[in-house]
Symmetry: C2
Amino acid sequence: MLSKNTIKHIQSLSIKKYRTQFLEFIAEGEKIIHELLLSDIHIKSIYATPQWLDKNKNELQKADEYRAVNEIELKKISNLSTPNEVLIVCKIPKNELNIDYLKNELSIVLDNVQDPGNFGTIIRLADWFGIKNIICSKESADCYNPKVIQATMGSITRVKIHYEDLVSLFEKLSIQTKLPVYGALLNGKNIYEQKLSSHGIIIMGNESNGISNEIRSFIKQPLFIPSFNSNKEIDSLNVAMATAIICSEFKRLNPINR
Amino acid sequence: MLSKNTIKHIQSLSIKKYRTQFLEFIAEGEKIIHELLLSDIHIKSIYATPQWLDKNKNELQKADEYRAVNEIELKKISNLSTPNEVLIVCKIPKNELNIDYLKNELSIVLDNVQDPGNFGTIIRLADWFGIKNIICSKESADCYNPKVIQATMGSITRVKIHYEDLVSLFEKLSIQTKLPVYGALLNGKNIYEQKLSSHGIIIMGNESNGISNEIRSFIKQPLFIPSFNSNKEIDSLNVAMATAIICSEFKRLNPINR
């Protein structure tokens, strides 16, 4: 039996305020939990059906504690319309951003991406393309939102997400590194005709407003994915789609890590 | 005032069975409705606030009828958690598939794509890349599902969606045309190293199971987007992401329509 307080605590973790207060997040779904248990993320609690616990005996010692729960309890703590057999509570890892480390890497900067589905998809894309760091403006969606965690399909365990003041980040980057700064802009240059570096920063903007003026000024190489449709009504690609195509272009031209 | 019957009828259109029976679908959202009103899709009814009707006077004659509704009524007929100012009921267009027409085109075949968000995103991508036809297996999600319509952001007015028995379609295609048939497969060839034609068929598969065995046998050129991450846990890209990258590659190499 879960106590009322435990249920209330777990439920509170679907709200950012409480995730920040407790430095904890929840995850659900067989695949994501499997990857979290394999990762170096600190697992506080496993809440699972007796069947799941029995089936996954060898993984239980990775958590501080595990508790058998019935379906009614699982429904109470779950964020899914059809709860899975298991839910875990994890500690939010401390991802410290080391600017030196970015020097030889390709990294993504998100300027106020808000939709959890888009954000989760971008994390999954970064993982696929071997991009290890995503740096977000402080107003961006929270990567520990259960919907983001769900959409990453486990990639959250491999891609490091940092929240930074982007203006001071770019100021530091321009002083301490020679990293090329690319950005997706509607008036950018045709991406298929540009030289793209193996390392650098790719800035992607908000779903409605794109990259803010303040951040735009740091872009040295504005990029645009041309439309192949002459109809003028199509205004833009969704930010996750654009990220997919841009990452594909960078990695196609610099397949060093493959 | 809307009658109970009218409300019930509009509500029923969020269910496929009734859309098929009445050959009608609903759309919401400023941008999508604007594009539907510009398109040659037959608009049956506009249900909008008096303010919206007043602001859009010149577009009202495109519909068979329009009705002023209040916020309570709009909430009843809307599929959105925060209803917009307007909802329209449209006739489902008859999209007849002409195989001859595909001969010089690049087209997408969807073998049982189920998620409305993925499907809507793929329609939007097709539009961006100037792909005019998407042919779906009969088990695929319904493109007139309100969630798909929403995710297309208006592209549904420009991309023709066909539902066909795929086996007989591919049999006909192989007899009547020389169209190259590409498919996204995990054991395909590195897409960045292939010759991609300006015309042909690209097959994308179901979210969990990929392309069915029956349809797989028609693929002459299996394609794969390589991962740039050596970690083996990453199993695949989401189908909409993969479609974005594949379309980008085809059009980058064949920019004829740009």
